[in-house]
Symmetry: C2
Subunit: 585 residues, 2 copies
């Protein structure tokens, strides 16, 4: 037995396997996921696992490594979020989202930091040694809403699209603010004196970190799109480029201390439309599927590890500090949302209702990012207190808020997501109105979002598409693509319905008629021979053959290393079958 040799990949594979099996387990009991969010169940599994490890080894189970979290577990989730981001509601609400993400987060950081400092001054709590800077540092890591936790909960409660994108967008974009404030306070903690120039430099960093992330992401995204222009002969590695370039954008941003999350989201959103047009349909299915799969596994692993890491002796249980942290997190977020929404509503026709405000405030879940950041803190004597407080805040928000948000949404009758997606007719009207509004803005001289969107589209079709798309003869609009997709889908359904609707073409008939199934060879002896030669059956067979055998049908080519069975010269055969079927009808 040589376990040492295979240990690393073996244990990684086993963890992923555990996560996947846990997921299957939950879905076997249909009632469970409708009551308790999956994230809670996974943390619970993690707690049990951690307890077992603790019980067996009699020492704290391993905590989630912050490097592993930031380098390997987080990127797939953010990539998935960015790639499948509904871009229309996102860009329509970008102003509000940025306000919540930047101003709201700063508000929360300072609010929580200063109030906790106030608590520390109470002598009875014995916390006087926690300085203001340490409280602000703690505030900077505990204030940020976590995209992973938000996604996990909001996916299941189906609130309306605007509300969803406000909370989700905030949780993604506050990364830039969190990175800056966290690093700023951490460096302040280690500095002997703080000059005012350092504070101003910190403010300047916001823009560098955020905009730098966007720039890095977009440049990698466009490079990815450009690369997929040349993959026509080697379809099999197309999906790889989507993953490689996105990941590189994240790593590059992290390397330059920019916001990796912002970078990977920009990369995914930037490349999506061009990559989709360049790569084959099967590559695209693979990209989408693998993204979902990867993010799903990452997400599961994060929650399980969160549970495992909670068990152990890393905590200092100073309950006043911990309780006040939870309370301040709730209060300052609620206040922040109220104040910011008041300003937002003054400038918008389509206001955010008070019910929506409540859900935005209540949906401010904390998760694995806080957890990883608190472990990355430099060692000082109160680190274990911060770890305990962070753990409690995460468990409180994920369990209590996560489990009660669904009943609250029902109770308050918050506007839900439309059950059905917009019809093609609606989409055409929306598109038409967009053009109309762009025209009105142009004439009235108001440079609003429609004006800029139109300019961007013009730039896109004039320059970008020519560089990034392989077949730039006629740009296909999204509605034409949708039409083609629906046609394809219905054709498949047609084939299935044709099989289901016409008795004789049913597989079981084919089986018995052609002796094709080897398993029914064993029951062949029981079949009466007149059954197989029944004139009705023969007629049916002839009918099937007349309808379907227009030419010798070829199966795909045999084993080939670098390609999957492709579709060669399809149109001729398809036309032939079309003509034959029509003459038969």
């Amino acid at each position: 037995l040589d376990y040492q040799h295979v240990q690393v990949p073996f244990e990684i594979t086993l963890w992923i396997m555990l996560a996947s099996l846990a997921k299957i387990g939950f879905h076997l009991y249909n009632k469970l996921p409708s009551v308790v969010p999956e994230s809670c169940l996974l943390i619970f599994v993690g707690l049990i696992m951690g307890g077992i490890i603790y019980g067996l080894n009699d020492r704290s189970p391993p905590v989630m490594d912050s490097d592993i979290f930031f380098l390997y577990l987080l990127p797939p989730i953010v990539l998935d979020a960015g790639y499948f981001m509904p871009s229309r509601p996102f860009f329509e609400n970008i102003g509000t989202i940025l306000l919540y993400a930047v101003v709201g987060t700063i508000w929360n950081v300072f609010g929580i930091g200063f109030s906790l400092y106030g608590i520390c001054q109470v002598k009875a709590f014995r916390l006087q040694d926690v300085s203001l800077l340490h409280n602000l540092l703690f505030g900077s890591l505990i204030a940020a809403v976590d995209p992973v936790a938000v996604l996990a909960v909001f996916e299941e409660i189906h609130v309306n699209e605007k509300l969803h994108i406000l909370v989700f967008g905030e949780s993604l974009l506050n990364d830039a603010v969190t990175v800056v404030l966290y690093k700023l306070f951490r460096s302040f903690c280690e500095m002997p004196t703080i000059k005012s120039v350092d504070v101003f430099a910190g403010v300047g960093k916001f823009f560098v970190v955020g905009l730098g992330g966007v720039l890095v992401g977009l440049s990698f995204g466009f490079t990815a799109a450009f690369t997929t222009r040349f993959t026509k002969d080697i379809r099999v590695i197309e999906p790889l480029f989507v993953f490689l370039y996105s990941y590189l954008s994240y790593l590059t941003a992290e390397m330059f201390h920019l916001s990796g999350i912002v970078a990977i989201i920009s990369c995914a959103m930037g490349m999506k439309r061009y990559v989709e047009a360049n790569i084959s349909l099967k590559s695209h299915t693979t990209v989408k599927y693998f993204m979902k799969m990867w993010s799903s596994v990452s997400d599961t692993l994060i929650f399980i590890f969160l549970g495992v890491s909670t068990i152990g002796e890393n905590h200092e249980w100073n309950w006043p500090y911990i309780c006040f942290t939870v309370i301040f997190c709730l209060i300052w977020r609620a206040l922040g949302v109220l104040v910011l929404t008041f300003f937002v509503n003054r400038f918008h026709v389509n206001t955010i209702t008070s019910k929506d405000q409540f859900i935005i405030a209540y949906g401010g879940l904390r998760g694995a990012i806080c957890f990883s950041l608190v472990f990355l803190l430099p060692d000082f004597h109160r680190k274990k207190l911060f770890i305990a407080a962070t753990t409690v805040v995460i468990l409180f928000t994920v369990f209590i808020q996560g489990m009660t948000i669904r009943p609250l949404v029902d109770l308050l009758a918050v506007k839900r997501k439309r059950e059905s997606a917009p019809t093609v007719g609606e989409q055409i009207h929306i598109r038409f109105l967009d053009h109309l509004l762009a025209g009105i803005e142009d004439i009235s001289g108001h440079w609003g979002q429609y004006y800029w969107k139109d300019k961007l589209e013009y730039f896109n079709s004039k320059y970008l598409q020519k560089i990034l798309l392989r077949e730039y003869d006629q740009p296909k609009s999204s509605i034409v693509l949708l039409y083609e997709k629906l046609e394809r889908k219905h054709a498949i359904e047609l084939a299935q319905a044709g099989q289901l609707g016409h008795g004789p073409a049913h597989p079981s008939f084919l089986c018995s008629a052609f002796l094709c199934s080897s398993s029914d060879r064993t029951v062949r002896a029981d079949q009466k021979s007149e059954d197989a030669l029944n004139p009705d059956v023969l007629d049916n067979m002839q009918e099937i053959l007349a309808r379907n055998l227009y030419r010798i049908r070829r199966t795909g080519p045999a084993y080939n290393r670098h390609t999957l069975p492709g579709d060669s010269e399809p149109t001729e055969q398809a036309k032939e079958i079309l003509i034959l079927r029509h003459t038969n009808l």
Copy 2:
């Protein structure tokens, strides 16, 4: 700049990126791959890269880590090979393949080992310090034909299926023999005295290593199939299980010193038919696509690393030893093939022609497995000589033999692979003949391959399918599945042809008619209004609408974390469109 932090994933991503871009580069020039095999080009790229690294750093570039090779690069290739293995020719020729893989490899090991020992006795070469055991150890690592190299070359020359499977099957299954002999001689080298019981234990190990690998593989394969029974509600992680279980089978086998290659191949071949029946069509596309992608990248990386590792100062250039190694490798393989084929042909009606024998002998390419094994040797003073000899043998076989095998196949007019795959009619006849032969064998009391195949099928349908398949109402035979696949494919072609055949449905028309493309908004001013209101165009529009708009068409649901847009209640809509289209015709 914080490069240290992201170094590991960043460099891995960059290497994969380099490999993928190199692949794209080769395929841009269509003529190049038809003359030089891709493997040679990749080694060449690696040599250049290695030269650059050597030139810049003035020290040897890093050699390919054997652990990385065996744990991360080899499994995807072998999994791909096993999953897409054409099982019929493989099992038809399993006897011959095993003979080549086991007896042939042993023959080569001892042949090369003893002859090189003879060379070492020549005083002029100054090699008298290389013992017989060291020569045999070297023989054991240099004798094995490499599956990666064989696949890379044989994929491109399209010889007939039997010849292909003989060489390829041998290269895969000789792993068990190589593992045993290599470890045996290595432990002998470190033992003071060798007892005869050790030799017999070594012989017994063959069976343990080979059959153990098969058992481990099959058990993981069946577990994988069983797991996919329960993934109906969570389609997105289905592909994961295929990869996880295969990889676990490989790692488990390696852990117990069994043959990992044999294990992963058994696992892939065992699970394939059940997994395919259980998982959704899109999951299956993803599995296939990702396997191809992964193996393709691994393969590329291996050849590039092979090139990079060649550069440097790890070599001792004793040319007599190196030249004789190459010569003996060629001679002993040719002799082995001749002798073994002589016996094989005596017992088979369908004999292996002398042309085929030549290609089998000539196609014995060595590759990265030898290379990794030679670096794993314990340190002794002649290790650099062995490294040099291995490098030369690999480069000789991949470059000289790999580049000349295609012209030789042309020159000898070796029987090629059928251009077209067998038709459905042929397949039905083959199936019928199988049943017939099984019956004849049963009656005549001859327990041949058809008898056993039939027994296995019976066992499969009676027990295995009931346990491993989710929907065990009626087992679909491969021909019914093929029929369904063809129906689906033709339906898609029908949709495309319908669009292409009928002028008005052309995308560009839709564009201009519906103002749907935002890019043509910019040229809208140029369009004459009577053009859009042309009665012909209006008629065409009405025709399209009458043909296609049977009901409000719904697009997929909006963003959802865990699922891709699915297909709900398709048959009703499909029937409706069917009826509407038929009434229109």
